[in-house]
Symmetry: C2
């Protein structure tokens, strides 16, 4: 009986996944583009003091496999966390914080990717052009949707964050960060594109280094910002599809490790 129940659950998951995949393909009709279904990572806890918790994996989220999907855990009531410091850290052997809002991990740049893969089960996608499909965007803030792209000889982190910068008015912030130094990040350009009937929104910029922190990028306004009504105009059945493209900046392509 348990076996049949599990089978039924798996079939339901597959149907749900198939539907979401179809939606993303309908929105971005370019043939051959990968679609990554990304589930939210809720702010289940927040440790205000910075301490190394690299092996701790309390959150569930990310994109462990390209077409895997998970039901998000319901958000627990919690006190509002204090704001993170959002200025870039000193450059001399800098500690790097986890890009997830809910995680207090910090460590060296070289171990950010292992931390994301092991602690948050974030999968690494190959390809410079991908459709990022964030699910359940109607869930309350704060929440993160993240995925890692491996292309052009580097790893890039796409972060979509739902956050209330102004009380009672959640917004979405989308940015691409290089798992590398700021000077390496200057060698690339990324593009985010949302498309719905009669509407299109494109953002193009150089990625920021993951060393600078997501908070600094949001505070600087150096990202794609969507109000909740605008996100609803682009969303389809709780899913927000964002087309992503990464290219090497012309002047710097030779130094970018291509």
């Amino acid at each position: 009986m348990l076996f049949f129940t599990q089978c039924f659950g798996a079939v339901l998951d597959l149907i749900h996944l198939r539907f979401q995949h179809y939606k993303a393909k309908r929105v971005f009709s370019a043939a051959g583009q990968l679609v990554c279904v990304v589930n939210p990572t809720h702010n289940l806890k927040y440790v205000s003091g910075r301490r190394a918790v690299a092996a701790n994996a309390p959150e569930q989220g990310g994109c462990p496999q390209r077409h895997a999907t998970h039901l998000p855990r319901p958000p627990r009531p919690h006190p509002r966390p204090p704001p993170r410091p959002h200025r870039p850290r000193p450059q001399g052997a800098p500690p790097c914080t986890c890009p997830l809002f809910s995680c207090a991990w910090e460590g060296r740049l070289e171990v950010v990717l292992p931390h994301l893969r092991q602690a948050h089960r974030v999968g690494v996608l190959q390809g410079a052009e991908i459709v990022f499909l964030a699910t359940d965007v109607h869930l309350p803030a704060p929440a993160d949707w993240i995925t890692v792209h491996s292309c052009l000889g580097h790893h890039f982190l796409l972060v979509l964050r739902k956050q209330e910068r102004h009380q009672g008015h959640p917004q979405f912030f989308a940015t691409m960060m290089l798992i590398g130094t700021p000077s390496q990040a200057d060698g690339f350009t990324y593009r985010l594109e949302l498309s719905a009937s009669h509407r299109r929104l494109k953002w193009e910029a150089a990625p920021r280094s993951v060393l600078e922190g997501v908070d600094a990028v949001i505070t600087d306004g150096d990202c794609l910002v969507l109000s909740t009504p605008l996100a609803q105009l682009f969303a389809d059945d709780g899913g927000l599809a964002i087309g992503i493209a990464i290219t090497a900046a012309e002047a710097c392509s030779s130094q970018a490790g291509m």
Copy 2:
């Protein structure tokens, strides 16, 4: 002596204008594009009751001539106005409100353009591709920058509004509205584009009818939204250059009066 002072003032104005024009051309390098320098219209007064004040012209702003520039009046202290109603009005011979935040005028659709030209000295530009250069974007909210474009057989109104939807956090909202009915507006597409070093932001949508009101468009999120930090990333010496393009939507071009 007075004559020489006036001449000197005129020369300074011309130098300032030339500088702004050069900046806009540098940002948008496409040859042959018109540049419209648009000054802010401050919310000097607000009449909460709706009454016809068509002949009244207390505000100074708009783009009276293509390359004219004016010093904006300093904003006077005033109580925060009550929010305007922002739902579309009934379609049966609907009254149309003035798109300027500071003006309480209302009248029929056919007299919106004469009102804007006479009461607010808004000039009409010919051409489907124009660079809209809003000056003094650092001035406090609320403020409007507007201009009218005549192309494809219709008149389009570009509105850039600086407004505090959330206390203490002014934002910029840019939208294109057709001086026509909603069904006529569906026949067109407009594109707004901001560009600065390593950053580009594009918004493409169908214009909304001026009958629906600017407030409804902002509340629906159906416009380009810039936070103050993001606007600062694109601004250059207090000027915000927005490239504008209007096209007839493919399916409706035959009915759009081309």
